[in-house]
Amino acid sequence: MKNRLRQKFLRVSLPQAFALASCLAAFTATLVLPLFSLLKKAFLDPAGQFVGFANYLQYFKTPTLRASIGHTFFISIVTMAGSVALGFAYAYALTRTRVPGKTFFKYVALLPVFIPTIAHAIGLVYLLGRQGLITRLGLPVALYGPGGIILSELIFTFPQAFLMFYVALEFADGRLYEAAGVMGVGPLRRFFRITLPEVKFTLGSACFVCFTLAFTDFGAPKVIGGSYNVLATDIYKQVSGQFDMNMGAVVGTLLLIPAVLCFLGDRLFTSKNESALNARATKLNIKPSLARDSFFFLLCAAVTLCLLVLVAALCMGALVKFYPYDMNFTWKHFQFNASTGGIGSYFNSLKMSVWTAVLGAAFVFAVAYLLEKTNGLGFLRKYGRLLSVLPLALPGMVIGLSFIFFFNSKQNPLHFIYGSIIILVLSNILHYFSVPFLTASASLKKLDSEFENAAECLGAPRWKTFLRVSVPLCLPAILEIVMYYFVNSMVTVSAVVFLYSADFRIASIALTHMEEAGDISQAAAMSLLILGINLLARLAYEVTARGLRRKSQQKERL
């Protein structure tokens, strides 16, 4: 028996198993258990008695609440269709045509990522609201309601769809197209028979991501939704307005619909997801075509113009005295009212984002490393992989709400983190875990799996190999993760809206309060500050990444 165990676990090291188990235990305690407390709450009445589906029945009996589900689906489907089409066309333009100014177009497309969704909506108000710049030109626009929400969600989800397609289309096997050309296959047929099948899986995941983002976003409907209720605003009203936690939990579970749909869809679509690209692929040679290139140039120009105008509108709102009556220049909107958070909230946000970036990157990389590079422990690793992609399907509001239920309970030994910066950092790390995890895993997978074996035979303990080999080699990916966490923590609203305390307000929430209080110019000013720091972070990332690339190229030169 002893020998059998030794056979099975010869290649399992105790410290690694312990490290993996404790990471996963922490993950379970802070993500899975809170989710269960949310689920439980949906089936209890305010006094804590089990009531079965009574809350759900009540929810579906309330016409306004019931309407929200239809609204949310409508918004999400339209947004998904628009965003995916636009994102694909834009990415196609930058990868498969000879459009000039590709670098410019690429970075402008990312602009919306750097500001909270509420700011997109505020920008739209300046442009298309009742006193909007464009409205005053005489255009009849119905901004408040579904139209405005969809427009705002499009701006929000477009960069995500674009980026996914960009990555998928960036590398093409030129041989396929040449072979098709030799066989006399026309461009249209080549597009449908080669290009589209290449991005089939990206298409699926882009649809899911855009749908989920629109389904669960809170910022846009809050500002320009008017009386058009969606699930995300319902949950906010139930919890923050009426303190009806049980009904909030019910809506929270409804927000998980996309996740469940995705799980079912995944079951249907999962097959060979392997890229057909191999080492012998040749670079795609794009032939110039005036018609194609001009069409895509106009498309890119139109999209970037819209995005730049939006940012310009925010700048204008922040910098004129009293739009639209007094258009003189002023800095006074940058003096924020203390009642809505003040400038302190901005520094709090910075503090929170730096902590999230540093701790998040360390945690993500450690988990990815342990899952990727430990031997044996099949069951633990399967569970770990499942946990790691779970947050992808969890709306921030669900995480926020389940955190309230879980950590606010007096019996919880971690109760003390409630209302502090710790719970904010924790919720951000978990909320945005999956994308960095996939980045880290992909970069670790590229490392020779014999590195660990070689180091082990040389007598080096695993942590030393980790620090001296894996971390330095994955530094570009780690930097990317740090930046991703920082930027997202600066703009996030959904998870933290339930978790911040009056002592520790943050900028993205302050934005919500400013908008509620009617200080829309201050909100615009705060958006610009957030945009500024995020652009700086991105710039710092680009410069460092370029430095690293140059250093590793030097190592290659003879």
């Binding site: 056979q7 099975k8 290649r11």
Partner: protein, 251 residues
Amino acid sequence: MPFIELKNITKRFGKQTALHGVSAGVAQGEFVCILGPSGCGKTTLLRILAGLESVTEGQVFLRGKDCTYLPPAKRKLGIVFQSYALFPNMTVRGNILFGLQQQKGLSRAAREEKAAEMLRLVDLAEHKHKYPRQLSGGQQQRTALARALALSPDYLLLDEPLSALDAKVRAKLQGEIRAIQRSLGVTTVMVTHDQNEAFSMADRVFVMNQAVIEQMGTPRELYENPVSPFVADFVSEWNPAHFRNMEGAAL
């Protein structure tokens, strides 16, 4: 008593049997090649010798002691992987020093001295500040060898160390590896699928096929008395003229 002894080793991956009741011995200072087609289990056998793979049944003895469950770090072995697994973020010198730095008993000067000695041994002293990607295939191979030998291992394991190199470099390195092995007298087991390589380098060759060792013997024994059509087929592709040259050189 053989220096390395395998007793009845069986290794199964799920339903697939990679090794089936393999027993063999390697004498102190001997150079053994495990020869066989791909998928015959030869690399699995080598990894079991390294402790990188567990056995399903059987025992591994080193210096007469049962080391079946001893982790690689405690076996005092050197290994060169097929991919070399050189750390790309370290120079040639850095790679060689990596293992030495774990030797707590060694002073800094002693480590440096040992690294310099290894660099001289594989003739890479002038390239010591280069990174692996700046080296030719043969130089990378020699770096991996130096790194494996730096800790003065009791035995050396080589997993298809020359398969990634072109024919000319290969022939040169075959001679060099053999010369280094002789001068250090280190017990060596090398895995290869190339019969010319096996027969020109090894004291003894283990011919493997489908999870078992078909025959063990000196190149001459295998050539003159192959026990099975499989071994005969493997041997017949080999040029005996080459064989005579080798023996002549050894004399």
